[in-house]
């Protein structure tokens, strides 16, 4: 079966439950079950480990497709793929075969634990430290926000390396749910992204020493080569899909019998607003495709111009996808722009997309980009 068909299957389930999961701020368990059943959870797992052998471009395509149906489901999927990509690239035997085997069967949903109280989104430092006694690593970590944390089968966790001399020595470690005592209040009452069920958790337990991904202290490298690029591509695809779905529903409304009566499609203001929304999405889409190709082809993603492109994608997608939905709300007005029960679902799209600039703060990325710009005085555009 082709991936488009599998994506459509998950999108249908996501759409069916979207109103309830948003209203009740609960995890889309049915959509996750469909991601397992279609084995899309194993999209990036190589065929020899039983996965679908998909590419980064497939993640982007599916992120857009699922985003059209439900932004939380799309983010759950793309972030899981980001975790899988790190395992595929950096996990060593025996963890590699065991974990990829389960992932390839769609049996394992991986959650991400990078954010920490006290350092916010700063990826390359860690407060809580791993303690090693030779054969095992002891994990004791508070995680303020973990998407799907109550449903995850396993976690990739950043922690300070054992015996680290500074907070900048960060390791990435895998822990299966059964290896941890997972506790938390379950409190989650956000503005949007309600179905992402991104709860605070306390994770305590111990894992065999070989469950470190890459080597100790190697997280910065994993971050530059896989984690950050996959996050920015996956998030941007998710946001673009959300805004594209919103635009599509508005256009169908305008062209339908009710819309033709209600709206004057000769209105220059309406036409201009539709044009602006579409223009924003085409800009983000072009940047997303360019960045996807760069991630596939670049020999060294750490060079400033590649990092600048990936950061520009994230910042631009966050701003423009949100702005496109704002345009659409003005274009259609109160009934179909502001009320929850409109089939355009603009109200939810706007709340969900409001998280985009915060989810790895655009402010933080601008500071990084200013420094990177100074390192590329020739301005070598990618």
């Amino acid at each position: 079966m082709d991936l488009t068909e599998l994506g459509d299957r998950v999108a249908r389930v996501a759409e069916e439950h979207a109103t309830r999961t948003d209203r009740d701020a609960v995890f889309p368990a049915e959509a996750l079950a469909e991601l397992r059943a279609t084995r899309l959870l194993g999209l990036l797992v190589p065929v020899e480990h039983g996965g679908l052998g998909g590419t980064t471009e497939d993640v982007v395509d599916l992120g857009i497709r699922l985003g059209r149906a439900d932004m939380s489901v799309a983010m759950i999927f793309t972030m899981h793929c980001q975790q899988v990509a790190a395992v595929v690239r950096h996990a060593a035997e025996p963890l590699r075969s065991q974990l990829l085997g389960r992932l390839g069967q769609g049996q394992e949903y991986l959650a991400s634990v990078t954010t920490e109280a006290g350092k916010g989104g700063h990826l390359l430092s860690a407060e809580a430290a791993l303690h090693g006694d030779g054969s095992r690593l002891h994990v004791d970590r508070f995680a303020p926000i973990v998407t799907g944390g109550a449903h995850a089968d396993g976690f990739l966790i950043t922690m300070r390396s054992p015996d680290a001399e500074s907070p900048n020595e960060v390791s990435l470690v895998y822990a299966h749910r059964d290896q941890l005592d997972v506790s938390g209040s379950g409190d989650w009452q956000p503005m949007g992204m309600r179905a992402s069920h991104s709860i605070p958790l306390k994770l305590v337990g111990s894992v065999p020493a070989h469950q470190v991904i890459g080597q100790h202290g190697k997280f910065p490298e994993i971050s530059t080569t896989i984690f950050a690029p996959m996050a920015h591509l996956g998030w941007s695809a998710t946001w673009l899909g959300t805004a594209a779905g919103a635009l599509s529903r508005v256009l169908r409304l305008l062209r339908g019998p009710e819309g033709r009566k209600r709206f004057d499609v000769g209105s220059e203001l309406l036409l201009t607003r539709l044009s602006r929304a579409r223009q924003r999405l085409d800009g983000v889409h072009a940047l997303l495709r360019r960045a996807t190709d760069t991630v596939r082809d670049a020999l060294d993603l750490s060079v400033p111009n590649h990092q600048l492109l990936l950061n520009a994608l994230k910042i631009t997608a966050a701003e423009q996808c949100h702005a496109a939905v704002q345009d659409l709300i003005d274009a259609v007005g109160l009934r179909h722009g502001y009320l929850k029960d409109s089939p355009t679902r603009l109200e939810q799209a706007l709340r969900d997309l409001r998280s985009a600039s915060l989810n790895y703060s655009n402010d933080r990325l601008h500071l990084a980009d200013g420094r990177l710009a100074l390192l590329d005085p020739e301005v070598r555009l990618v």
């Binding site: 390359l124 490298e221 500071l367 990177l372």
Partner: protein, 84 residues
């Protein structure tokens, strides 16, 4: 490595106090973050009167004291004999 270089490096490594800097010293682990690496770059360029090429602005260049020193010596005129 030139003692001038290790002296220049020390203030940028907030976790490197009381540690000997060797070519293997991991600069990021010792506290060199991206903001400080810009300042370090300016200090290197002022001290040695060189300009590091854009192509060297990679994580690999700033990985260890040795890799950074290597990038510097590549820009030094040979006769200084500083290449150790």
């Amino acid at each position: 490595m030139d003692p001038r270089f290790t002296e220049l490096l020390a203030p940028f490594l907030k976790f490197g106090k009381d540690k000997q800097i060797t070519p293997e010293s991991n600069l990021r682990a010792l506290g060199l973050d991206s903001m400080r690496s810009i300042e370090l770059l300016f200090a290197i360029e002022d001290t040695y009167g060189i300009s590091l090429p854009d192509d060297e602005m990679t994580d690999a260049t700033f990985a260890t004291a040795g890799s950074l020193w290597h990038a510097i010596t590549a820009q030094l005129p040979d006769e200084t004999g500083a290449r150790t």
